[in-house]
Amino acid sequence: MSLQDELYKETILDHYHCPRNFGSINSASLKLEGLNPLCGDELTLYLKLNNDIIEDIKVEAKGCSISTASSSMMTEAVKGLSLDKAINIASEFKQMMLNKNEITVFDETNDDLNALAGVKKYPVRIKCALLAWNTLLQCIEGNNTENDNLKNSKE
């Protein structure tokens, strides 16, 4: 199998070349920077909440194809959802990337995410795929436990 078949699938390259929801939100309710210490990939996540609903989400990222594509897919997957539902999807995604034995498959709505399953075969790249999702989870958790957006955004 070639690298294109396993890792750099068309869907991934598409998101990589045209990342969705790329940019920043001026009046973000939540903002958090994420970092992959191993490779130096960085991103900044912006969330605009309406009560519990993710009304808007944007990502500024400097990263490899996997991390860029993953964050692009992440924004598509959680935009419009409640925070709880977003947490659910993020957990499912982490499950897909980290669980060696079980195979997670996303339904049609989130079909793009399935393209990232191939990353599992490249252990060092898993962190690239997880960066956006871990940042999302931390961002929501920080909001829940602290209710202190300013501090959160300064992390």
Binding site: L35, P37, L38, C39, Y122, P123, V124, R125
Partner: protein
């Protein structure tokens, strides 16, 4: 029951003559020999997938990283740890204890606090604390020994108080051979919120280690004492404890982000593993664990107990012998220390070596214990899975020769 002949065949070093005699290796408490599979695990690494780990994207690096982390998981299971990130790879037990002293004790103890040790500790579990006591003004106390070479716990209530912050004890003495029951100690220590470190360097070869059952907070050992390579030890610590500690050695791999004026640290276990580790040996350590697990501690204990009983009996027949340690097999491992009256252990050791028998003579890194016993050293025969009754018989025969060579000197 353990098949010694079959096991012996796995250890190439045993198949040789020393000083013209078959090598009888009875210095296992210092370091054990290595089976072929461990030696091969090292050369396989170098011949097939040698590469630096953790940050490499290429295939060799990924293979090496995987194998390195596999040993962490194998070690986790080996000692019943909750999570693999609780396993920190060090060079040896000594470094593990220094890590606790530098990164935990230095930040959590203040003048007047107390550290409790025992009179049977190895220098590795003495000197770091003595140095710390000088630096911080903390006090060192000791659990004394009974006449039959056991920990004397009768005054434990006075020894452990709310001043006690760290209790660090060996699970098995590398001189006396005794295995310590630590239940009362850990219970009382935890009642007073002291943390307990268990030095398992000597014990791990002889008995299964379960950090949950031991109810300790830190534990350390070296792989070279359980059939593994030199250069690899571990510190196990409760995750919350390790998380709360600042790093010890700093540099590459243990960081999250580095700027010219600030730095943030990586998560566990990497926070405590700076620089390129001893990759080959960490990987081969897993093979040592597998080899021991294949034999099983139950059979190891049975074999050792039988052999220790045989050795104690045969040695007891030797004129003028003085044992330092119990002359029975209750709660003791296969480490036997003794002297022959009127012979210096170094001279005796030399005579024994002449017959191809490798034993240790000296203070065994327990100088204070030697002073307590009022001797300059002992002869120590330590047995392991590849030793048999024949080895003991040869040892005993060499003793008979000693007075002939050296004569007898009344103690001066």
């Amino acid at each position: 029951m353990l098949d010694v002949k079959k096991i012996k065949a796995d250890f190439p070093i045993l198949n040789q003559n020393v000083n013209g005699k078959r090598l009888v290796y009875l210095d296992n408490a210092a370091t054990t020999q290595k089976p072929n599979c461990v030696i091969e695990a090292i050369s396989d690494y170098y011949k097939i997938y040698n590469a630096n780990i953790h940050r490499g994207i290429h295939t060799l690096s990924q293979k090496a990283t995987q194998a390195y982390e596999d040993t962490r998981v194998a070690t986790q299971n080996f000692i019943g740890a909750k999570a693999s990130q609780e396993i920190i790879f060090t060079r040896n037990t000594t470094e593990s204890i220094n890590l606790i002293a530098y990164s935990y004790a230095r930040f959590n103890l203040k003048p007047g606090d107390e550290i409790l040790l025992t009179h049977m500790e190895h220098h590795a579990n003495l000197v770091p604390w003595l140095e710390l006591s000088k630096e911080l003004g903390v006090k060192i106390k000791y659990i004394p020994l009974t006449a039959d070479f056991r920990l004397d716990l009768s005054n434990l209530n006075q020894l452990i108080t709310d001043k006690t912050k760290i209790v660090s004890v060996t699970l098995m003495s590398n001189v006396l051979g005794v295995i310590n029951d630590l239940t009362a100690i850990t219970e009382l220590a935890h009642k007073f919120k002291a943390i307990v470190h268990v030095d398992a360097a000597q014990a791990v070869a002889h008995m299964p280690i379960d950090v949950k059952k031991l109810n300790c907070d830190f534990l350390s050992f070296s792989f070279h004492k359980i059939l593994g390579p030199t250069g690899v030890g571990i510190l196990w610590g409760r995750e919350a404890l390790l998380d709360s500690m600042p790093p010890f050695l700093t540099g590459g791999n243990m960081i999250a982000s580095v700027y010219f004026d600030k730095v943030t640290f990586n998560e566990l276990p990497y926070k405590f593993e700076a620089g390129t580790p001893d990759i080959a040996n960490v990987i081969a350590a897993k093979t040592a664990i597998e080899y021991i697990n294949n034999i099983g501690y139950k059979d190891i204990a049975k074999h050792e107990s039988k052999l220790t009983a045989y050795a104690l009996e045969k040695l007891s027949g030797q004129e003028n012998i003085i044992f330092y340690g119990p002359v029975n097999t209750i709660n003791r491992g296969s480490v036997i220390s003794f002297n022959l009256k009127g012979l210096h252990p170094h001279d005796l050791g030399q005579v024994i070596n002449e017959e191809g028998v490798a034993i240790r003579a000296g203070h065994h890194c327990c100088q204070p214990l030697m002073r307590l016993l009022d001797i300059s050293g002992t002869i120590r025969a330590s047995l392991y899975i590849y030793n048999d009754e024949d080895d003991i018989d040869i040892l005993v025969k060499t003793l008979k020769n000693a007075y002939k060579v050296m004569g007898h000197v009344a103690s001066r």
